[in-house]
Amino acid sequence: MMKDKHPGEFLPLHNNWFHILLSLVGAEQHGYDIMQEVLARTNGAVRIWPATLYGTLQRLIADGLIEESDERPAADLDDARRRYYKLTRLGRKVLDLECERLQEMLRMVQRKRKQEAY
């Protein structure tokens, strides 16, 4: 029903979106894992509170950037109440584009610095 958006239309990514997508790279995670990973990765600078996290997850799912994973961890580690999320291809693409955008910006800053240094 909803038309798929072009990956470029999501840029620049909202801070929370970026961190959540980044946490899901390479691993399927549940909500608390994502929270913890963001916290650890940013040395406590970015904390996504539970309600905000779920609001964002819902939006990401609605926009097709992430989806719920069918795979569950081993039974002894699993909690039936938890849900696991993974990146979609679109999500992956959006994240890549955002990374490129950030790198480009970084390069621009560096070029500027070099000019200053001369």
Partner: protein
């Protein structure tokens, strides 16, 4: 520590539990679990402040989540409505027209019966029922402080010749004003926009002339000059100083007789010739309308009793030998300050009638809406079932339907408000049948608008919700399997929808019949039909006094004019009249009391409300109204230059109604009458001719000769010349030339044929009637749409059945007949109910108002209406049914059977 954590966990759980159902279904448990993980961790890292932040976060996200759902609902609803453009536009349009019509019905009458703008507490203002009062009597009423808080006497409307430049040669224009007692503005509670108003201290006889001008006059003729106060105008040839400007919208106490100038009644008679003869001190000059402001808590009956007592004392004091014989009430009071001089009974009736119309239209709109929404709701049962089966909650479904209904009602409401404004605006530009220039200030009544909107929206929302509310009863499995055909428990074949259609038919037929009865009756009874040729009757008005004629010159003019003008080319006959025939409003009628006299010269029948009309020689012959007996006035009667002895009888002509009421079935010719101090001998009898606009029954009329002597006594009256011409267009120029050559200083105004005059009056009535007729047509249209919608729905529901029938060999004619039969059954039931209802309403109104009784009982037209209204309804309804019936025949049996 643990206990504290448990507390926060519980709080968190509560907040998380309040999330929208659909969100809970998907992420609820996960969210709970996350809280259990996060709360100990947050507590450990950040302590209390962290826990508070976590809770604040969820508390803020909660309403945001609901907002997001509502936004989804709205966009979903918009998509749904856009997908059914037919349904949406019909629903919005019918709602809009309904609301617009409802508001118009109740608002259009307000300027006619409502209080004038700018007056404080108009409910406390009363006036004498149909009666004029002399100034000394008024002063005594004014001082009856136990019942009267304040009072004022008004004479008017009186014309003024106003010149703006100072020199006397400047061309004067005519304006209408009121001559008022000094308490006028304070009694009405009006405050000046600039300058001052009158007061008993400042306005005394012999003071230099002053005038208060209306806001309208100030804007249109003084260029909204901020220094207008202090400027001078020439009024009837005399300089007068503007001392004040009235507030915006204020045109005097009777908006029906608007005034642009207010002059104190204490002014010089050269400013106001109407005041010649010292009426302020004459108890027998009953020329003032009196407005009383009742003291707080005083009711009209109490005031009437007190006024009666005062009047009796005054009558005794002055030795007035009137017909006021101590029995019963002498005075009746009625609310003052309405556009028309209207009694409380008329007011109540007009209001009741309009409220009934309003209720009928509104119920029709609501029923129509209900019908549309219910039919649509049942079409969507499959959608409801699917949504329920995939986990939608009932509240969510209800909210979805609520959103759709609110959107629909809102759109209809906004369009309705716009329409109501448009109609009232258009009505404000209606020509008002009045001898004085005025506006029909039709404004939307906001209370009416609010109530109408509230009811229409409530109906829209309520009926829109019904399908969702009944969703609890939906058997999901069965509905999904059988589509829209699955019966809902409690939904029988003749369900609420059919009931609604029958009601709709009935109400619309009732509305159509009642409005058309009224419109036709109104047209028939108030439309001035003189019964004689009016196209060749030319009317010319003269006002010799304001052209500077003395009383003597005026009477000479009156005596000479008919002869002079009859010599002009193309004039067949000429007569004079004191008032323009048929031009008076109902409120101007019945201005005198007449007593028939028996042989001994006393006693006899007293008629209290008689219209006295001054007419010249050959009046009836010129109009073309045949006499039923006796003769009409001739030039001798008109030339009674010398007043005879006091008791000498003046000839008079009566109309049929007056003759019947005074003398029963006896021959009135030769009988004697007494009016005030004058004696009359009846010399002629004429048939009843409508005497004015909105006069629905013949008024007893006494015609007396317009004599030179009468003019000497009443120099302020203007004269209307009536000419019967062979060809009006060619006659006008010679007549004007004749007048200009013989009387160069005479201003000729209001030259027109009588037909033009009548057309102007009738156009107002026709407009009003057109509104009612439109209302009736609208009702019809709504009902047809309703029936069409229900039939279309029935066809859609029976798609499979029709497919089977056609597969088994039913011909398309048979299928059409089957569909039409159902529609016809509903139509018949509705028509029978509607005819009955209309009969009941008509009887109820007829019992309530004799005017309407005559209207409903008016010969001709009604039988045709009773017959043609259902036929029209049937025609439209059948057309509405035929379209879906035809579509039924286009059903492809194979497709229909395979479909579900």
């Amino acid at each position: 520590m643990n206990r504290r954590l448990n507390f926060y966990l519980a709080l968190y759980g509560r907040l998380a539990g309040a999330y929208p159902h659909e969100f809970r279904m998907l992420y609820g448990e996960d969210l709970d679990r996350l809280g259990e993980d996060a709360i100990p961790d947050v507590s450990r890292r950040y302590g209390l402040s962290g826990l508070l932040r976590l809770l604040a976060d969820i508390a803020v996200q909660l309403p945001a989540m609901y907002l997001r759902e509502i936004r989804q609902d709205v966009s979903y609803a918009l998509r749904v409505l856009a997908k059914a453009p037919g349904f949406t536009s019909v629903a919005i349009l019918s709602l809009a027209i309904g609301i617009g019509m409802c508001c118009t019905v109740l608002s259009e009458i307000q300027p006619l019966v409502g209080p004038p703008p700018g007056v404080r507490d108009p409910a406390a203002l009363v006036t004498f029922h149909w009666s004029l009062v002399s100034y000394p009597y008024f002063e005594r009423y004014r001082d009856a402080h136990q019942v009267v808080a304040a009072a004022t006497a008004v004479l008017g409307p009186v014309p003024f010749a106003v010149a703006f430049a100072g020199d006397s040669s400047a061309k004067a224009e005519r304006f209408y004003g009121h001559l008022v007692s000094p308490e006028y503005f304070s009694t009405l509670g009006v405050t000046p926009a600039a300058g001052r108003f009158f007061s008993p201290e400042t306005e005394k006889p012999g003071m230099p002339p002053v005038v208060v001008v209306s806001d309208r006059f100030w804007r249109t003729h003084l260029g909204a000059d901020p220094h207008a106060v202090g400027r001078r105008l020439r009024l009837n040839g005399l300089m007068a100083t503007i001392v004040g400007i009235g507030p915006k919208g204020f045109q005097g106490i009777w908006p029906g007789y608007p005034a642009d100038l207010f002059v104190p009644a204490t002014c010089d008679t050269s400013v106001a010739p109407e005041l010649s003869g010292d009426p302020l001190n004459r108890y027998d000059r009953e020329i003032f309308r009196v407005v009383l402001r009742l003291a707080p808590g005083v009711t009209m009956p109490v005031a009437e009793a007190t006024i009666d007592t005062i009047t009796r004392n005054l009558d005794r004091e002055y030795g007035v030998p009137s017909g006021r014989d101590g029995k019963g009430r002498m005075w009746r009071l009625m609310p003052a300050g309405t556009f028309l001089y209207i009694t409380p009974e008329q007011h109540a009736f007009v209001n009741t009638f309009n409220v009934v119309l309003w209720a009928l239209v509104l119920s029709l709109v609501c029923v129509n809406l209900a019908n549309l929404l219910l039919a649509r709701g049942s079409q969507r049962r499959r959608e409801i079932a699917i949504r329920l089966s995939v986990g939608a909650s009932r509240p969510r479904l209800i909210r979805q339907f609520l959103t759709e209904s609110v959107l629909l009602s809102f759109a209809g409401g906004v369009a309705g408000i716009a329409l109501a404004f448009g109609i009232t605006h258009a009505m404000s530009s209606l020509p008002v049948p009045s001898p004085t220039p005025q506006e029909f200030n039709c404004q939307l009544d906001f209370r009416v608008l609010a109530i109408t909107l509230a009811i229409a929206l409530a109906a829209g929302v309520g009926f829109g919700l019904m399908p969702a509310l009944s969703s609890a009863r939906v058997d999901i499995g069965r509905t999904l399997k059988e589509g829209a055909q699955a019966p809902l428990r409690g939904y029988r074949r003749f369900g609420s929808r059919n009931l609604f259609v029958v009601c709709q038919m009935a109400v619309s037929l009732m509305l159509l019949l009642v409005t058309w009865f009224v419109a036709m009756g109104f047209l028939n009874t108030t439309r001035l039909d003189t019964g004689f040729e009016t196209g060749k009757l030319i009317l010319i008005s003269l006002d010799p006094v304001r052209d500077g004629y003395s009383a003597e010159r005026t009477s000479a003019l009156v005596a000479a004019l008919p002869d002079e003008l009859s010599r002009a080319d193309g004039v067949r006959s000429v007569t004079l009249a004191g008032s323009v025939p048929f031009a008076s409003l109902a409120s101007d009628q019945a201005n005198t009391r007449v007593a028939s006299q028996t042989g001994d010269g006393l006693g006899g029948q007293v008629l209290h409300s008689v219209f006295r009309d001054f007419i010249g020689a050959n009046y009836f012959a010129t109009l073309g109204v045949p006499l039923l007996g006796g003769r009409e006035f001739d030039l001798r009667d008109q030339r009674q230059d010398e007043p005879g002895p006091q008791d000498a009888a003046v000839p008079a002509v009566l109309n049929q109604t007056a003759a019947r009421e005074l003398f029963g079935s006896g021959n009135p010719i030769g009988r004697r009458l007494r009016e005030g101090e004058r004696n009359y001998t009846v010399v002629g009898l004429t048939r009843d001719v409508p005497s004015g606009f909105l006069v629905t029954r013949p008024v007893a009329t006494l015609f007396v000769p317009l004599s030179a002597e009468w003019f000497r006594k009443n120099p302020t009256e203007r004269i209307t010349i009536l000419l019967r011409a062979t060809t009006p267009r060619n006659t006008l120029a010679p007549v004007r030339n004749q007048l200009a050559s013989l009387h160069p200083d005479l201003t000729v105004f209001n030259v027109r044929t009588m037909r033009e005059d009548l057309d102007r009056l009738n156009s107002f009535v026709e407009w009003q009637a057109a509104i009612y007729i439109t209302l009736g047509m609208f009702a019809l249209l709504l009902a047809s749409i309703g029936l069409g919608g229900v039939t279309a729905y029935a066809v859609a529901r029976r798609r499979k059945e029709i497919g089977i029938r056609m597969a088994l060999g039913a011909r398309s004619g048979q299928v059409q007949a089957m569909v039409l039969t159902e529609g016809t059954a509903l139509l018949m039931a509705g028509s029978v109910l509607g005819l009955g209802g209309a009969y009941v309403i008509a009887r109820a109104f007829a019992a309530y108002s004799d005017t309407l009784a005559r209207t409903f009982g008016h010969r001709g037209g009604n039988a045709a209406l009773v017959f043609s209204a259902p036929v029209m309804l049937a025609g439209l309804a059948m057309l509405a049914c035929y379209l879906p019936a035809r579509r039924a025949t286009e059903i492809d049996p194979v497709a229909a059977l395979r479909e579900e």
